[in-house]
Symmetry: D2
Subunit: 350 residues, 4 copies
């Protein structure tokens, strides 16, 4: 922490700041400059809150030097964390898994058809919502536990591990039983009660960035999970709020290299929510992969026109199939590889 | 709903859109124009989701005519809803209550001292956090249930009703027992599980606007509570995220007349979080009241420099006392009145 | 400037940073901490650009201690700058002038009628656009020089000084001849060529905040004018871009106390553009005044329904008249006074 | 235009709206619905401003059906516009030119060295600033006309066409004489006087998106240029303002498919300003190309550590060389091709 004094701060004001730092248990280091004095604080300042110093007489600004997060940081752990959600399905290594499926689980036929279609096209895991956070209480809210049973059935049929969203503790415990990776949606990114529960459950977590979350906020939310002993966290960029109504969200792909620099956790991208429009999903999925994403999450529906939610941003199965081909070519261009569907033998040797 | 066709849309494309509207159970009304055709939908379109139509061939745009919220709207109920959280403490009428107190409950002495100080200065209700949502898992997280017991004690000492925040179902039930009004923080504004619980509990709710919530989002979250049968909801503007680091949040006071136009629910303002800086709390509290706020929520701490959280934005008791005087003068200038502390007899009759 | 090293930075990396600081002509001061080392720079760092140091090996972050602006800062000049645009019409003192008038000058009758109406209601100065920056090239672009002639005529009729917008050098020179205060619109806030011209012209300038300008950006743009020798600058908050479509702009009234803390220049508020809706102009003008604004700029049109631009946000003359009464009452409540129309004798003593 | 009435609007209010539409010269079409009536307007509504109707009694909302721009729209011209800035250097076709060079022209040696280095690495055009818009008046402002002379010299040495920024009319005329493509910077995107001048000059224009410009704003600014008869406009995404301080700007790559859908004009991307950090330029340049960009604009400096501006975001020549190789591989993966340097014979036949 560095306390910057005003240009005309008196010596008494500087002394008061030094005293306040000592009262916090640290050693102050005054640094007189040509224009003004700054007072440094020596010692571990991870948890120091200097807000009350910022409003002391003669103080211009308090600057924090340490980052507020700890276990999620690249400084804490140099090598990438690899998160596995099923046999052969890992995020954070050189292979790039693709999670695909409908927004919501609707019927047995719908989810099994979708699972087969995305597997045939090259998906590595299956997504599908049983608990749906909808802006309006009058919109379809998901099938609940029945949806989880249908997802487990689709996994049995295809071998694809299941990624699905929890909205509260009860849902999280159910998904820990039926699914393979528990998603936290954008709206719950700072639901700290839920994050603590997920930290204790120990299952892999897919943590989506909130609509107005900075990268630092996202990492601090992940820190809640790691602080409880669970480091199996996959981050996800899915677009943030912006001033431009020309698209549903602003898809911040620069979050990918930013997270890679600050943290050892893998980060994937969701171009379906990131853009909100089917025609933009393909170019932006390609862009996400080129930017270095550790995975792609994409909505695919057997009949988008009849989807109960998010139909307009869901790909048709044949569009998804073409997308996977393009992603494979781009991955190769940057020295990575799209992960194969589980159970396939991509590198069979004669 | 109105479907705007592209300038060069073919008759077949227009016919397809009409068919899709009929398949949804409504009657299409094509409106040919000089440049392009639009197709209207006749019937109650409250819950219509036209997203799949928006991506049909020849469609330029789908426009929603009805607002997505219902019971919270001014059209649903013309007169203001008045929410009472204690004898003589009501939001939404001509009187303007002031809720004041520390960010967190810390000790018995701290909260009782604070309660007496804010009551003496003219506060109408007491705030204080027992469950604290903090960005970092390593920051002080509140006293929990013990904090609620201390708040109830402070109420007994002063008569001030208690407003305090719930972060999950368990906390909500505890506050329903010990407190008078359950606050939902900005980070949980779209925690729909919690909102539904609050709808069923029936206690007054103080719903804070999320950091990137539009006014429409805020009203839809309130709709979750009303849809469960509880209309005792007070909305709260507390600043939103912006691009400008010069202040912690951007305090959107224009939200006040906007909500008053769209909804019958009362809206109050929190200049402490809205600005994040003690020196700005007084001018912005005055501004909020002048903009038409139905209440003011302000952080006051007996010793801000020693507060465990939010010290930098907390007023000293004597600052708060001066603020109340200024608020009384401004209220009078616009034909309203600051509500007196409960139990005082402000209009003694000879 | 403070260079924060990474936790695992080597001594060689720290030495390199010290060498780079020396190469810039300053003295480095290494500060070893428990977690990491920071290197301070001693000397006047106003114009130091440490961006190339921020990407050196082992560097985590470069932090600037001095603010980037100079002559506009409160540190440079303690007392308020008072800007006068006509006899008895000053911004930055205890009196609060009100600038009112139509968005555009349309005809002689319209502007003279408007000028008389706003003067009768209590306005202190007249606004009206001759050069109009419109998003679309097909919208009404203003009367140009003829508009200036009509404004000068309206001034002769009413005594109200004229505030009007320049979009380029040619317009600025014309306004310097015909008007009293040259407005720079939000879209031109960083048109540095124009700002330099205005600095040299020496006329009072009304500088509006850009749509995505931070307070620091706004002050730096003002610095361009002061750097050329003209300190007669009035700043203006007029709303910024936000994610919320519920209103045309987000009106950031907290900018007022923020500017008052950082700068000696006066700041006024424009609730017409700040909200974009007539019904919100009155409550938000009151709020701006209560927040400490040094003036109010408001659109008033004799017949808003027939205005060539901004009709929806223009007040009717009788609404404006009521607004002035409310503003007078609020000003009194906070110990200030709405400035009278020039030439009136508001405090005549018998 | 569609006027949506309130649920409880009276027949008299509906009639008034119809009368107001007729007064504007159009035919009203009332559409009674189950909940409320909407009134359509038949006829060409491109330039209709219904703001005054939006505040009439009984009106809930006015909705615009036509887009506000005209000549720039894909509806106006179906096929892509191809903009050529030199022999063999075209934007908008299947080839993707790369514009590279330093932020500012500093010396003859610097710009010629830079030009040779970027040409050797595969650049198609040269960038370099002679007129620099800097936030602070005390920062380096560019060499002015002398810089243009040096750029012309670098072109003679390398054959690379010149892209450089104009800040005002005078600069624009000079660049028309010395350069090949006139850049409009983000801060001047809505400097309509400058845009009109560029429309009349007829030289190719590179129009950068403003810091808070919506896609619609960007297209409307381009419309100013086309409206004067010049359709040689290249749009450029370069990042917008956001709430997240983790990066200098938010790089909105989804702007690329959005522009491609709405307009026939080419759009390129500038990852140097889009990210502000050297390490992010390479992944985000790759991402931009994968998203469909029609060109890449990137800052390269022979010695970034000694650059007078933007050193921290400039690539070293060897980094740029590797980037070009990666871009070539990704272009191939999506069926396009990076344009060769002018004068090279990319398809040599044996």
């Amino acid at each position: 922490m560095l306390v910057v004094m005003q240009r005309d701060a008196t010596q008494a004001q500087i002394d008061n700041v030094c005293a306040a730092i000592r009262a916090m248990g640290f050693e102050p280091v005054p640094m007189p400059g040509a224009q003004r004095t700054a007072v440094g604080l020596v010692g571990n300042d991870r948890q120091v809150d200097g807000a009350h110093i910022s409003v002391m007489a003669g103080v211009a600004q308090v600057i924090y030097v340490s980052s507020p997060f700890k276990q999620v940081s690249r400084e804490w752990r140099q090598e990438n964390t690899v998160v596995s959600i099923g046999p052969g399905v890992s995020f954070g290594g050189s292979e790039i898994p693709i999670i695909a499926g409908p927004c919501s689980v609707e019927t047995e036929q719908q989810i099994v058809t979708a699972a087969r279609a995305v597997r045939a096209a090259g998906a590595t895991a299956l997504r599908g919502g049983a608990f749906k956070p909808r802006s309006s209480p009058y919109s379809f809210q998901g099938l609940g536990k029945k949806g989880l049973v249908l997802l487990a059935l689709a996994r049995r049929e295809t071998g694809l591990p299941i990624v699905t969203e929890a909205m509260d503790d009860e849902g999280a415990h159910l998904i820990a039983e039926y699914g393979d990776c528990i998603q936290v949606g954008a709206r719950n990114m700072q639901n700290y009660s839920l994050l603590k529960t997920l930290g204790r459950l120990g299952k892999p977590v897919l943590l989506k960035r909130g609509l107005a979350a900075t990268i630092s906020d996202l990492l601090l939310s992940a820190e809640y999970i790691l602080a409880e002993g669970n480091d199996q966290v996959i981050l996800c960029e899915r677009g943030v709020r912006s001033f431009d109504p020309s698209s549903r969200n602003m898809f911040d792909l620069n979050a990918i290299p930013t997270v890679h620099k600050l943290s050892h956790l893998p980060i994937i991208a969701d171009p379906s929510h990131g853009t909100g429009v089917r025609d933009h999903v393909t170019p932006m999925a390609r862009a996400a992969l080129a930017a270095g994403a550790d995975g792609i999450l994409v909505e695919v529906h057997p009949s988008p026109d009849r989807a109960l939610s998010d139909g307009a941003q869901s790909l048709y199965p044949e569009q998804f199939s073409r997308l996977v081909s393009e992603l494979r070519a781009i991955a190769e261009a940057i020295g990575r590889r799209v992960a194969p569907s589980p159970g396939t033998a991509p590198l069979s040797v004669g």
